[in-house]
Symmetry: C3
Subunit: 446 residues, 3 copies
C-alpha cells in the first residue's frame, strides 16, 4: 500500500500529464487547420474546438461507464504496479464482458480522487481519438453531422474497443485466457487511441468521398494545398510536447521509474520518424517536404506509443525510422492509388503507424518491463526476445480494431447518411464551409 504522499505524487503526475494531453487539442487544431484551405479554416478550427466539449460531456455521461464501469474502482494511485488499470486486471485475472455498465456521470465515484484523476486522464485520450477524423474529413463535413459523430465516438465507439484492451476486456485477457503472451499490450494507445481514430477517419472518408476537384475527369489529382504551413508546423511541435504527457503519464504513477525511458523513447522515435520521412522524400524527389516531415514526426510518435515502456532506445529509433517510411507510403497509397482523400494525412499517421506501433510491441519488447501485466506472470517479451505469442496477441488486437472499428463506424456514417446526410451541398463546398456553413470567415477583412 503506497503512502499518502506517494499517492498524492502519483495523482499530481496523472493530472499534470492529463493537462498536457488536453493541450494536444491545440496541436491537432493547428495541424488540421494549417493543412486545409483558408475558406474552410473557421470550420476546421470549430470542429477541433467543439469536439472537446462534446466528447467530454459524452464520455462523462456514458462513455467512461462503458469503458471502465466493469472494473473495480481504483482505491489509490500507487506505485509501478498497484493502481494502474493493469493492476486491477492482475488481481482479478478475468474478463469483464463486452462493456461496462456502471459509473455513468461519475455517480458513486465522485468522492474518490484516484477515480477522478483517472477519469480526467481517460477523457483526454478519448478526445485525442475523437479529433482525428476531423482532419481527414475536413473541407466537406456537415457541422451537425460532425457533432452527432462526436456523441457516437465519445459515448460508444471509443469506449467499447477501449474496454476490450484497457477496461479488463477480452483482448486484454487473451494471455490469461488463451495463452497469447500477455494478451493485447498497448501501453499508451497506438491502437486503442490512434488506430481507432484513424480507422474511423477512413470509414468516414469512404462515406463522404473526396473533395470536389481532388480527382479530376482527366485523371489528374488536384494539389489542394493547405493555407498555412507555419501553423501546421507549430501544431506538430505542440503535439510532440503534449505527447510526453500522453506516454509518460500512462504509467499512472510518477513512482514508476519507467517514466524516464518512456519519455526518452518518445523523443527518439519522433525524431527518427521526422528524419526518416524527410530524407526518404528528399532522396526520392530532391526537395525536403515540410508537411511530410511533420507527418513523419507524428508517425514516429504514434508508433512508439504502444511500446514506449517496453523497448530499448535503439529499438525506439528503429520503430520511428520505419514509421517515417510507412507514413510516406501510406499517404501515396491512399491519395494516388486508392483515391481516398485525406487532406491532412490523418489516416496514414494514425491508422497505419498505429497499426505498426501495436505490432512492434510484439517484436521489440525486451523483457525488462511489464511483469504481471494483464494477469500473466513474467515481463512482456516480443518475438525477438523469445515470445512469438505476444506478436500473435498484438496481431489479433489490430485485426479486431480494424474489423470492429471500421464496421461500426462505417455503419454509423451510412446510417447518418440516410437520416440526414454527412456532406455539405456542392455550392457550400465550392464557396468554402466558413461562409455558408459557419456563418463567418476565418480571416474577415475590415
Amino acid at each position: 500500500m503506497p503512502t499518502q504522499l506517494e499517492q498524492s505524487v502519483n495523482l499530481a503526475w496523472v493530472l499534470l500529464c492529463g493537462f498536457l494531453v488536453m493541450f494536444m487539442q491545440v496541436g491537432f487544431a493547428m495541424v488540421e487547420t494549417g493543412f486545409t484551405r483558408s475558406r474552410n479554416a473557421a470550420n476546421t478550427m470549430a470542429m477541433n474546438l467543439v469536439i472537446y466539449p462534446v466528447g467530454v460531456l459524452g464520455f462523462w455521461l456514458v462513455g467512461y461507464g462503458i469503458m471502465y464501469g466493469g472494473m473495480p474502482e481504483w482505491p489509490t494511485l500507487g506505485g509501478p504496479v498497484a493502481g494502474s488499470h493493469e493492476a486491477a486486471l492482475r488481481l482479478l485475472g478475468r474478463s469483464y464482458g463486452l462493456f461496462g455498465t456502471a459509473k455513468f456521470a461519475l455517480v458513486s465515484v465522485s468522492q474518490s480522487p484516484a477515480s477522478l484523476g483517472m477519469f480526467l486522464f481517460a477523457v483526454v485520450f478519448m478526445d485525442t481519438a475523437a479529433t482525428i477524423p476531423t482532419g481527414a474529413m475536413a473541407e466537406r463535413w456537415k457541422f451537425t453531422a460532425f457533432m452527432i459523430y462526436g456523441v457516437f465516438m465519445s459515448m460508444l465507439l471509443y469506449p467499447v474497443y477501449g474496454n476490450w484492451v484497457w477496461g479488463g476486456g477480452w483482448l486484454a485477457s487473451l494471455g490469461a485466457n488463451a495463452g497469447l503472451g500477455h494478451g493485447v499490450v498497448d501501453f499508451a494507445g497506438s491502437s486503442v487511441v490512434h488506430m481507432t481514430g484513424g480507422i474511423t477517419a477512413l470509414a468516414g472518408v469512404l462515406v463522404l468521398g473526396p473533395r470536389l476537384g481532388k480527382y479530376r475527369a482527366d485523371g489528374t489529382v488536384g494539389a489542394m494545398l493547405g493555407h498555412n504551413l507555419p501553423m501546421a508546423v507549430v501544431g506538430t511541435l505542440i503535439l510532440a510536447f503534449g505527447w510526453f504527457g500522453f506516454n509518460a503519464g500512462s504509467t499512472l504513477s510518477a513512482s514508476d521509474p519507467r517514466i524516464a525511458l518512456v519519455a526518452v523513447n518518445t523523443m527518439l522515435s519522433s525524431s527518427a520518424g521526422a528524419l526518416s520521412a524527410l530524407l526518404y522524400v528528399r532522396f526520392s524527389f530532391r526537395k525536403p517536404d515540410v508537411g511530410m516531415t511533420c507527418n513523419g514526426l507524428l508517425g514516429g510518435l504514434v508508433a512508439i506509443t504502444a511500446g514506449c515502456a517496453f523497448v530499448s532506445p535503439a529499438a525506439a529509433v528503429l520503430i520511428g525510422v520505419v514509421a517515417g517510411v510507412v507514413v510516406v507510403w501510406a499517404v501515396a497509397l491512399l491519395e494516388r492509388r486508392l483515391h481516398i482523400d485525406d487532406p491532412v494525412g490523418a489516416i496514414a499517421v494514425h491508422a497505419a503507424c498505429g497499426c505498426w506501433g501495436a505490432l512492434a510491441v510484439g517484436v521489440f519488447a525486451d523483457g525488462s518491463y511489464g511483469a504481471g501485466w494483464n494477469g500473466v506472470s513474467g515481463p512482456v517479451r516480443g518475438l525477438l526476445f523469445g515470445d512469438p505469442g505476444q506478436l500473435g496477441a498484438q496481431l489479433v488486437g489490430v485485426l479486431v480494431n480494424g474489423a470492429f472499428v471500421f464496421s461500426a463506424s462505417y455503419g454509423f456514417f451510412r446510417l447518418l447518411e440516410r437520416l440526414m446526410g454527412n456532406r455539405v451541398p456542392a455550392e457550400v463546398e465550392h464557396a468554402g464551409l466558413d461562409g455558408l456553413e459557419m456563418g463567418t470567415d476565418a480571416y474577415p477583412r475590415g
Copy 2:
C-alpha cells in the same frame, strides 16, 4: 507539520501550476488579437505582452505587500489545510485591516521558498485580472494610458480587493465576525480575479466610449469583425489548458487530494459552457457561432473558478450551462441595448460569469470540503445544502466587488482622462493604432 518532502512536492505543484497560469497570457493575447481588426493587431498583442512585465514589477514592488503584507508569513506549503492562506486565517480568525503594509519588493521574505512560491502564484493571478481590460478597451486605447493603468491595477486596485478576500480582509471574515456562512469564499478567483478584471474593463469602456463606426447615426450597429478567428480559437483552448493550473493549483498543495475534483469540475463546466452557448445561438439563429462558443467555454471556466473545490461534477455541469447562456445574454445586452462596445466580450465573460460563479458557491457548495475555512468550523455549504448565510456572504462579496472596483477604476480612468486622455485621436483610430501609435504594422509586406 508536513515533512520536508511533502513541502517540496507542494512547492513544486504551486510552481508548475503557476507556470501554467503564466502561459494563459498567451491565450489572452491570441483571443484578444484574433477578435480585433488587423490594423490594431500589433497594438493588441503589445498590450498583452507589456501588461506582464508592468504587472510583475508593480506587484513585486507594491502590490504583493498590499495584498498579503498584513498576514503572517507562510512558513511551509503543507497539506490540505496547513500552509494555505485560509490556514493562516483559521489560525488567527480576524481581519488584518483594509490592506497590508509589509513585504514590499519581497524584502524580508526572499529567503523563504514557500513565500517565494506564493508570490509567483499570486503574481500570475494579478496578471490575469490586469490583462482582461486590454481586450474590452482594445482598438482605441492610448498606449501610454494603458501602461499607467497597468501600474494602477497591479499596485493598488487588484491587491486591495484581493486583500479583502484572500489576504485576511474583512470580506473573508464575514463568517467569523458577522455570522454569514464562512465569509466570502472564492476558491480560485471568479470574483477576486475575473470580476475585478471585468468590472475594471466596464469602467474603462464607459470612459473610452465605443469604437468609431460601431454605433452609426442611422441606428445600425457595425459588425467590426475580428481579423483572425483561428487565432482566437487557439487562444481559447490555451486558456482552457492553463486554467487547470489556475484552479487545481489553488489548493496550494498537491497533497490535498481535492486537486482531482477541481480539475474534473473545471473541465466539465468549460465543456458545458461551450455547448450551452453553441446550442443556444444555433437554435436562436440557425448557425453555430464559433466566437460565441469560445466565449461560452471561457464563461464556463470563469464561473466554476470560485466553486470548483466545493461542488459536485453534476453541479459543475449545471454552472457551466448557465454560464453559457449568461455570456450570450450579456453580450447582447451590452452590445445591443446598452451600446457598451467590448470588441472581445471580456465584460460578459469575466464580469457577468464571474459574478454568477461567485454566487453559485453560495448555492451549490455541498458540504464535502472547506472545514474550518476562513476560521469558521464545519465545511462550506450553499443554499441547497442548508446554509443560506453562505449565499448572503457571496452576495455581499459581489456587491462590494461591483461597487468598489467600479468606482475606484472609473475614478482612475476619469482622472487620467483629465490629465492626459485615454483615447487615441480619431485619425489614429481610423488608420489603425499599429502605424501611428505603435510605429509598425502587425503584418508588414515585403
Copy 3:
C-alpha cells in the same frame, strides 16, 4: 541517500521541466518566423522543425557521450546536492579531460532512470543552443548546409564546451585547481547554452554575409521587416513560459527548495528586461518598439539564466534592466556599425546578454547558495560579496567561450563553404527560399 519517493519526485520534476524546455522550440519557431519575411516563412519554420530531430539523434549517438561520458553515472536524482552534476564534481574534485568518450547511443545507461532523465534534460538544452543560429542566419541559408550544421552542433561543438563547464571539465575545475572562486559557475546556461548558440550564429552570419538588399550601394540600410509581429510576440511569451522549466529544472531536483527563488528571479529579470528595452527605445525614438520589447524580455531571460539560483530578487531586476539596454545597444551596433545582418536579433539576445549574465554571477552572487559547488567549499560569492576570484573565473569562461566557439564554428562554416557552399543562389534569395529551396509556399492560395 534520498528515499525512493524523493528520487521519483525529482525525476518527475526533471522530466516535466525538460518537457517545458522542449516546448521552447515552438517559441523559437514563432519568434524567428514572425521576424522574417513571408517568402521565407516555410524555410524558417522548417529549420526550427528539423533542428529538433537532427539534434536529438546527433546528441543521442555522439554528443551526450562527449559532454557527459567522462563522468561517473548518476545513480539517483537526489536532494539539493546529491544527484546534481555538481555533486559528482564535488565528490571527485578533478577534471575529466577535454571531452568524454563513453555512453554513446545510451549504451550501458539505458536501464538507469536517473541517467535517462538527465539525458532528456540535456538534449533539450542542446536543442536550445542549436536552434539559435537558425534565426540569425535565416532568409539565405541553404537547407542542406543547415542540416549538416545541425549534426556538427549536436555531436561536437555544443558538447565540448558543455563538457568543460557541466561535464566535469577544466573550466568547472578552475576553482579547485587554480583557485578562481568556484570555477566557472553557470547555473542554467547563459554561457553554455545561449552564448554558445549566439557566438555560433555570429560566426555563421559572418561567413554567410548580409541578406541581399540589406546594405545598399547608397549606404542606406534596408528595413526588411518581419511578416508577422503577433506570431513573434506569441513566440516570445511561449519562451518566457518554457524558460521556467529551463531555469527551475536546473536544480535537477524538486527537493531543492531553491526552485522557488529561481522561478521568481526568472520572472523578475525577464520583466525588467522587457520594460527596460521598451522605455529606453521609447524615450530615444518616441515610439514603443514591440519587437525590441520582445528582445528585451528574452535578453532578461538569457541574462538571469546563469545566476538565477545565486542572486537576490533585487539583483535579478537589475540584471534584467541592464540586459534590456544591452540588447538595444547590441542590435544597433551589429546592424548599423558592423553591418552584421541578424534578422531576428539572436546574436544580441543570446551572445551579448549571455555574456553579461555569465559575468553577473561573478558580481551579484550573494553567498546564500552553492556550498561545495564544483568541489570548492563555501557558497558562491561575487565581487560585491567578497570574492573577486569568482568574477575572474566567469571572465575566463566567457573569453574561452568566445574564442573557442567562434573559431570552431567559423572554421566549420568556412570548410563547408569550400565543400558545398552555405548560401542559396541570389535568384533563390530574391524569390524567397520557400518556393525554390523548400518546394512550397508558407501560405498557399486556393
